[in-house]
């Protein structure tokens, strides 16, 4: 399969294979991304996050259909957790998106977290770039069901949609500190259930505590399965986008995302170098036993490791 040609001629098969290569750490995939990097940055990236069972997939499905009516091309990256024991996963987000499967202008990809803890997979950055190069106008990134601190989505998305549900009761207190701070737009799904207004009020109160800022995240009551409130939700997402652009925060957030990405890659490269050194010289094992026997402390061991790394590679 010619991935390069396929990617540019709009072959989903090629784009899908490229994402697999990224997930599996194939160096060829990085070369292809490098060659096409200048084409990225056009797609708008909308993160969809919230607790398990809140309806993230259903909301994403409805929003994607609305965007499709405008003739835009849509990608959905849906992340579900990987088992820490077997490395396997059940990726079930497509269940709610069945009728998007056969829409020519939609590309859905499910991913396992594969050990990442921030609510996304390490390969999400790469998959977003593939979809962007592929020509998608909107990329929805659906996180795993989140608890309190899985906030990696804010590092990749232009807009973060937080999907909540009524009836979490006192739990709402518990999640106020972490994920509640990253929502740009809040949707209270399943608003036909008791307590929907109360949940909305609680979120409004939480937002009040943030004080006066130039942008206040809107809170929308929706019933995604019945397609209720989706138009209004989309308007709220659009108004966040407009605010971001007019305030200059859009570029700032993207620059921040690039900074994070460069540093992540740098960190990974450094780790790869250490692992290569270990493979060739077992030097790391020596340091470990020295620290274990209290001949050395971990802080000085790290310094020594850096010195040896430079020396070995300078040879």
């Amino acid at each position: 399969m010619d991935i390069r040609a396929g990617l540019l001629s709009g072959s989903k098969r090629a784009a899908a294979r490229l994402i697999t290569m990224i997930e599996n750490g194939d160096p060829e995939a990085i070369e292809i991304i490098k060659e096409n990097y200048h084409k990225t940055g056009k797609a708008r990236i909308i993160g969809v996050t919230g607790p398990p069972g809140a309806g993230k997939s259903t909301v994403t499905d409805k929003l994607a259909k609305l965007v499709r009516k405008q003739g835009k091309r849509v990608a959905i990256i849906a992340v579900d957790p990987t088992s820490p024991f077997s490395g396997g996963a059940i990726l079930g987000d497509r269940i709610r998106m069945s009728d998007l499967n056969t829409d020519e202008g939609v590309f859905i990809r499910s991913m396992g977290t594969r050990g990442a803890l921030g609510g996304l997979s390490k390969s999400v950055h790469g998959a977003i770039k593939v979809m962007d190069i592929f020509g998608c106008d909107y990329i929805f990134v659906e996180t795993v069901g989140v608890g309190q601190s899985e906030i990696d989505i804010v590092k990749v998305a232009d807009t973060v949609l937080m999907v909540m549900v009524p009836g979490l009761g006192d739990d709402i207190q518990a999640i106020k500190a972490g994920i509640m701070e990253i929502g740009d737009v809040f949707a209270i799904n399943k608003s036909d259930r008791e307590g929907a207004e109360k949940t909305a009020t609680e979120i409004e109160l939480m937002l009040d505590l943030n004080g006066m800022t130039e942008y206040r995240p809107p809170v929308k009551n929706i019933i995604a399965k019945d397609n209720k409130g989706i138009d209004e939700l989309w308007e709220a997402l659009e108004s966040h986008y407009k605010y971001m652009v007019s305030s200059g925060n859009f570029d700032k957030r993207r620059e921040k995302a690039i900074e994070t990405e460069i540093l992540e890659i740098f960190k990974q490269n450094l780790l790869d170098r250490v692992m290569r050194l270990q493979k060739n010289t077992e030097y790391l094992s020596e340091l470990i036993s020295k620290v274990f026997n209290k001949q050395l402390d971990p802080f000085n061991a790290a310094v020594e490791l850096a010195n040896v790394l430079n020396k070995e590679e300078g040879k």
Partner: protein
């Protein structure tokens, strides 16, 4: 390369019983595979398109309705047409013995009937996928 095998588990057609498919999906997960579960009442077009987008190694279908002779071959044909020539396609469910040769001829690599231990299906997938 050490990578998880990706399997699409699908229920084509109109029967609403997916207990068996879920048991198999769970066993695959525990065997370290990434299972994309698509849910009930899928058309062959939906299954084939999902298989391509998810770039799976294997499509595993389950049918209890009796429509296997119609639906299984159709999925094979569509997956191949869309460029998935190297995707392993297997089936399971209530399939009469006499239908199995015809299904294999149509490109279903293996049929697993009720009572098959999940480990047999998992080993078959591991030994027969076309990619490293």
């Amino acid at each position: 390369m050490n990578r998880p095998i990706r399997v699409l588990v699908a229920k084509p057609g109109l029967d609403g019983h997916d207990r068996g498919a879920k048991v198999v999906a769970r066993a695959m997960r525990d065997a370290g595979m990434e299972v994309i579960y698509t849910g009930l009442r899928q058309t062959p077009e939906q299954i084939a398109e999902a298989a391509i987008q998810e770039d799976v190694d294997c499509v595993a279908m389950s049918i209890l309705s009796g429509a296997h002779n119609h639906l299984f071959p159709k999925v094979v044909k569509l997956v191949r047409e869309k460029g998935g020539e190297d995707i392993l396609i297997i089936g399971g469910g209530v399939i009469p013995e006499e239908d199995i040769p015809g299904l294999k001829e149509a490109g279903i690599a293996e049929i697993f009937t009720p009572g098959t231990p999940t480990s047999v299906t998992i080993d078959f997938i591991r030994n027969n996928i076309k990619r490293d």
